[in-house]
Symmetry: C2
Amino acid sequence: MRRRQRGESPMKTDLTRRQALLLLAQAAGSSAVAFQAARAFGFAADPGEAQPVQLRPLGERKRSVIILGAGISGLVSAYELQRAGYDVTLFEASGRLGGRNLTVRHGDVIDEAGNRQTCRFDDQPHLYFNAGPARIPAVHTGIMHYCRALGVEMELFSNHNKNCFTQDDDAFGGKPMRIREVEADARGFMAELLAKTLPGAGLDQPFDAQDLERLRAFLKSYGDLDHNYRYRGSARAGYAAGGALEPGVIRDPLAFRELLRTTFTTGPLNWRDMPWPDHGAMNFAEGEDQAPAMLTPRGGMDQIVQGFARALHCDIRLGAHVQRVTLGEDGVDIDYRQDGELRSARGDYCLNCIPTHLMTGIANNFPVDYNWALGTAQPGKMFKIGLQASERFWEAEGIYAGISWTRQDITQIWYPQQGIFARKGIVLGAYAWDPAIIDRFAPLDHTQRLAKALAEGERVHPHGYTRYMENGVSICWHRMNHMMGCNSHWSAEGLERGYPILSQPAGRHYMMGDQLSLLSGWQEGAVRSAWRALEDIERREHAAAV
Amino acid sequence: MRRRQRGESPMKTDLTRRQALLLLAQAAGSSAVAFQAARAFGFAADPGEAQPVQLRPLGERKRSVIILGAGISGLVSAYELQRAGYDVTLFEASGRLGGRNLTVRHGDVIDEAGNRQTCRFDDQPHLYFNAGPARIPAVHTGIMHYCRALGVEMELFSNHNKNCFTQDDDAFGGKPMRIREVEADARGFMAELLAKTLPGAGLDQPFDAQDLERLRAFLKSYGDLDHNYRYRGSARAGYAAGGALEPGVIRDPLAFRELLRTTFTTGPLNWRDMPWPDHGAMNFAEGEDQAPAMLTPRGGMDQIVQGFARALHCDIRLGAHVQRVTLGEDGVDIDYRQDGELRSARGDYCLNCIPTHLMTGIANNFPVDYNWALGTAQPGKMFKIGLQASERFWEAEGIYAGISWTRQDITQIWYPQQGIFARKGIVLGAYAWDPAIIDRFAPLDHTQRLAKALAEGERVHPHGYTRYMENGVSICWHRMNHMMGCNSHWSAEGLERGYPILSQPAGRHYMMGDQLSLLSGWQEGAVRSAWRALEDIERREHAAAV
């Protein structure tokens, strides 16, 4: 199987011809031409950007594919295979398409084991909650490709809003501080400190006098230093007074020591146990997949699912519980239970995005090492709460979209970019990824979870929070039926030995889903893992023809 | 006249009563309650946020007000006075409302002296160009108040997109660089350098060993340093390869020296002659009025004007050219020319937003110091080009909204947040505020301007720019009829002596507009200057009644 590396520049190898064909096929007025041209010139969104999978039509041949699971990887696979003329059957255990791409609205049921809830949000278009993925970085060109292809309308999403708050009991007496103020002052002090110590700096790279002068200019601009390279506060922190009709009055800077007392500036924020980089929340939106441009479908993340649903005309079987997967010489058989009956199906190929930790409990005849590898992926946990507010009180505080941070268990509060100026709004009232925190939320019943989230949110918005909140939904993803986990991650050994095994097919059976990528928890991981499987099928089907 | 200072906390003084009344009046279900409550708690968007003007109803009395100019300050004034029962007549020299709030669409005429153009954009809702103001910072609570009150739908606007480019002939051989890469590396080197020099740093504030440890943690997180506090490159710069199915490969960092060779990092970018802070473009979106959240009306900035137009039912006279303003004991007379006839009108008050540099040429009987003060405001210049692209090629390069920077004369390229994934789009192809640059564009005819902008844009998008561009509009604001300038600024003497004089009424005549604020060029300045005048009228009318 071809393992494409990002940055490998597929244009220079076997894709040149395919691409040329594509260009010809899509010429004359298609807006896709710019995309293809950009890639042909080696100037795509990301030097390592993947080429969208292109399956050539089967022609006269008949090929059947069984897809297990209707999450994003399953939907992508069904869509691409159907286009190329494959006979596709999509099996899904739950009663809906989308998997963790779940947008909750009025009347929707949260199918959490032991905590089944019905969403009581008002029935209005802007009152929705993306309980699963909620944002797409522009660098995730795979899922963006489908948003575009499916006509999903996109709008900007904001990870970073300087008017939002950071709240930490260890700093500023626990008072919520505007991110604007904390950032401006932290930058200022850092720049001043470096400007001061520069004469003694042992610079590795050769620096002459002009370079040093430029470095000082950089620091001045970076930290908003005065002409003596001192930080005396900055308008960037927001004026203390004036600024419109009278000259703006600069705030007194916060104390540098105090700024460093919070993990917002110094480092890991509730994710110290996670295998993620330990960047402080202040630097969260610097991340390769969290920096602008971030986008989100207008009307909810499930617009992507609905786009696929519109495009698919293959056989989709909901409520189908896979009981056994049997690899054969020329195909794959499955046994499944649907409507109380045990049934079976057969495909020339099987694409499987059942969570690995569930798949280990399903009867199969996989090779021993394949089954062993399934056990090396660790299911993760995520916890979210969505709250309906009777008024968009955050907008009265100057907050439009973006994220507030706290070291309390709720970790974050997100404000909606949809429905600005409407009366009501849906706030994300908790988003925890630290397993220790989730273990404190999970055992609580729904009412208790909300009470905890409201009490903590009140610390971030002490002038009014609980009193605006009308109802909410809470979701422990590791307790959601048909999932029982999310955001799989690999042990060191799993990554080294298990992941490569599962990235290859076992006979005509492929594992996929975000779990089979290094972008776990991202829809992009689902897309890319599907493409890897589809490219292998393409290779098998057309190896002789090229 | 009352001069409200931001941060003065009006709640504690004479507004308590008014506010209480307002709360009562608006109780029971109005979404404005949260806004009032937030302010009552002293927790508004900005500690210095102005209270929206509240004119009490006139009751039985009759009062007439003449408003000169239908820009934002004129529209705000007409709207507020009309609500309070004043008899309002609005005179506008041009044929349209909005002043510099100008959204250009298919068929619109650009009324530039000597460069009259008709916009040839296709006739589609997303193909518009905000030729004047194009963004609103959330901290501009005055104009946001009207967006809200008028039901203007808002969406996020992006000043800062890491996928955009910076291009400078002095650095990286003139090659356009992703902002993502430049920023990540500049932060990394800065943090590393400071971490290295820390032991010798003479810290002003008392720092103990624990503080120093926290500072190191901060630097590590800030610059994405390794465990030895060295910068070895960062995923934040975008991977060189991998990251989805294979581990991401970190890019080699750029050379620190090279990073400092561009004004993108070190300082003023083409605005060195402007009275603005000299922050480099890299830090542009740190600014108090350029940092997120930034917003813009969905469908074009003139949605605000259309909102006012819907709400106004006062007498509006377009094509009315003021010839004389005569202050009287009990009112103000104006002579104006309309439809070839000389006419006159009289008001108990006159609110005047005619540009000061035009007002100096209009006959009047103002006090000598008032006329002198009019001359102390200096008209500014701004230049913009809007281009229609046949394809949204920037999206193929991973750019969705945001700004690219170049040291060439076009200075900036903006990409539209509206119409993502549509086929065509309107790009801002030049935005110059440096007078020296504008003086190079202004003498060119429209075709020459476009040619210059395309040639320069090609340097930022060397893989395709000109070939996508179908047509465009160019606007020199200082040559637009009925304006002949924009973004007034004050000499030091003007600010000290002229501005205070013009901030006061001359008899019953008030100057206003963004020119009469310290937020020149911002709609917020127009709103706040109007409020200042209206509050003074309120005081005069109700002084005895309170």
